[in-house]
């Protein structure tokens, strides 16, 4: 099969146009300062553009990118600097609605392992078996995470959970 010549500029534009919002949302869930977000963006998209293994489908490519982004965010959070120094930036959520702010604050306050299942299950509409592949975890573990995440959200919303929908 004839391979199309690699056009750097169009590949970059296409990748950013397609996935920048998704990567930004994952960063939003994990990271709290713009410098870290910049780092993740640069590394994740560079990895995507340098990836030589062809993807089976657009879904495969998307799942791969989600996994790489989550891993990268976790790596940053695990770093010595991140563990010992608090960010000087106070995160301001961009939502006009107070209720939206409240819901997102609850989700952001969840432990990482619960945040990722909430995001993938409710936002990306992944099934538990699909999440198991992306996160490389067993389905049972993810069912537990999902259950506990819901319980934590419910608890933190203090009886107002019926006002919210995922």
């Amino acid at each position: 099969m004839e391979q199309k010549p690699f056009d750097i500029n169009s590949s970059i534009s296409s990748a950013l146009q397609k996935y920048s919002d998704m990567v930004r949302r994952i960063c939003f869930l994990y990271l709290h300062n713009s410098a870290d977000v910049d780092d993740v963006f640069q590394e994740v998209f560079l990895k995507l553009l340098q990836n030589k293994t062809p993807f089976e489908s657009a879904e495969h490519e998307k799942a791969w990118l989600i996994r790489v982004t989550i891993n990268k965010c976790k790596d940053i959070l695990k770093s010595f600097w991140r563990k010992n120094i608090d960010s000087i930036e106070n995160m301001e959520l961009p939502f006009e609605e107070k209720s939206e702010n409240e819901l997102l604050q609850v989700v952001l306050s969840l432990p990482e392992k619960y945040k990722e299942v909430i995001y993938l299950y409710y936002y990306e509409d992944y099934s538990v078996p699909e999440m198991a592949k992306v996160l490389n975890k067993s389905e049972n573990t993810l069912y537990s995470h999902l259950y506990r995440a819901r319980a934590l959200i419910k608890k933190q919303l203090g009886g107002k959970e019926d006002d919210y929908s995922f």
Binding site: R25, D38, E97
Partner: protein, 272 residues
């Protein structure tokens, strides 16, 4: 009011500044990688080749190197034969006994070599061709008086014997084939003597004969006999030898051998 998690998160979008910053970074990095790749291919093409190709390239280099070495060894003479009539030719012989070099030392030598390619042939065939060429050029007299000097040039006694036998065989075959007769004179000189002769522009065979004459007649110079034929030099040597014998007889001593340097020479008259 029901707030949808999905619609709330949908409001999170990548900032234009973040996207453009990332775009600039990616262009720089990918362009750098492309250049690095190109340089790598140019500078280290061998190492970026697949492993099998690298091995094949190394084997090819070894093979070419080995073949070049073997060819150089094949082309290097280890011993020589000096053939002198009035024409002087020197043949270089490699360790396999093949002629790898032929050089005419004078005009007549170049004349008998002209048009003959004896590279790769054995010494017998090469001498056969040269004598036949000498016959054709009129350098062998009809009366059989011509002296052909065959001098091996080597430090190895066995190699010297082999060279002399092979050369004599070739000469005899050529004379017989052409219906001629001549006197064949055989001798051997060392490789160090060869160097001295070359410095004087003579074949070692001819210089050897002149030196023999000089030992009997000290007044003789190399320049005097440089262009003389072997036949003339040998006649002079015989004449000097006869005079020495007469002088010895006058002194009342019987001596049948030549004590003046030509004792080792092996002369043979060849007739048709």
């Amino acid at each position: 009011m029901i707030i949808h998690f999905k619609s709330a998160l949908n409001q999170i979008k990548a900032e234009d500044e973040l996207v453009s910053k990332t775009e600039i970074y990616l262009r720089g990095e990918l362009a750098k990688n492309e250049n690095t790749k190109i340089n790598k291919y140019i500078k280290l093409g061998l190492f970026s080749m697949p492993k099998n190709l690298t091995i094949a390239a190394c084997l090819a280099v070894l093979f070419i190197g080995g073949a070049t070495g073997a060819y150089a060894h094949y082309q290097t003479p280890v011993s020589y034969l000096s053939l002198d009539i009035n024409s002087s030719v020197e043949l270089g012989v490699n360790s396999s006994g093949k002629v790898v070099k032929a050089e005419g030392y004078n005009k007549d030598g170049k004349a008998i070599l002209n048009g003959i390619d004896m590279t790769g042939s054995n010494l017998t065939e090469a001498v056969n061709s040269l004598i036949s060429s000498a016959v054709n050029n009129g350098f062998i007299a009809k009366d059989g008086s011509t002296v052909i000097s065959l001098t091996s040039e080597t430090d190895d006694a066995n190699a010297a014997a082999t060279i002399k036998i092979d050369a004599e065989t070739g000469a005899n075959e050529a004379l017989k084939k052409n219906g001629k007769s001549a006197v064949i004179h055989k001798d051997n000189v060392s490789l160090s003597e060869r160097k001295g002769a070359r410095d004087l522009g003579l074949t070692p065979g001819k210089l050897n004969l002149i030196n023999k004459l000089k030992s009997m007649e000290p007044a003789v110079t190399v320049d005097q006999y440089k262009d003389a034929s072997v036949t003339d030099i040998m006649k002079k040597i015989e004449k000097s030898n006869e005079q020495v014998d007469v002088k010895v007889e006058d002194k009342g001593v019987i001596n049948g051998s030549d004590e003046n340097g030509i004792k080792d020479s092996n002369e043979e008259s060849v007739t048709n």
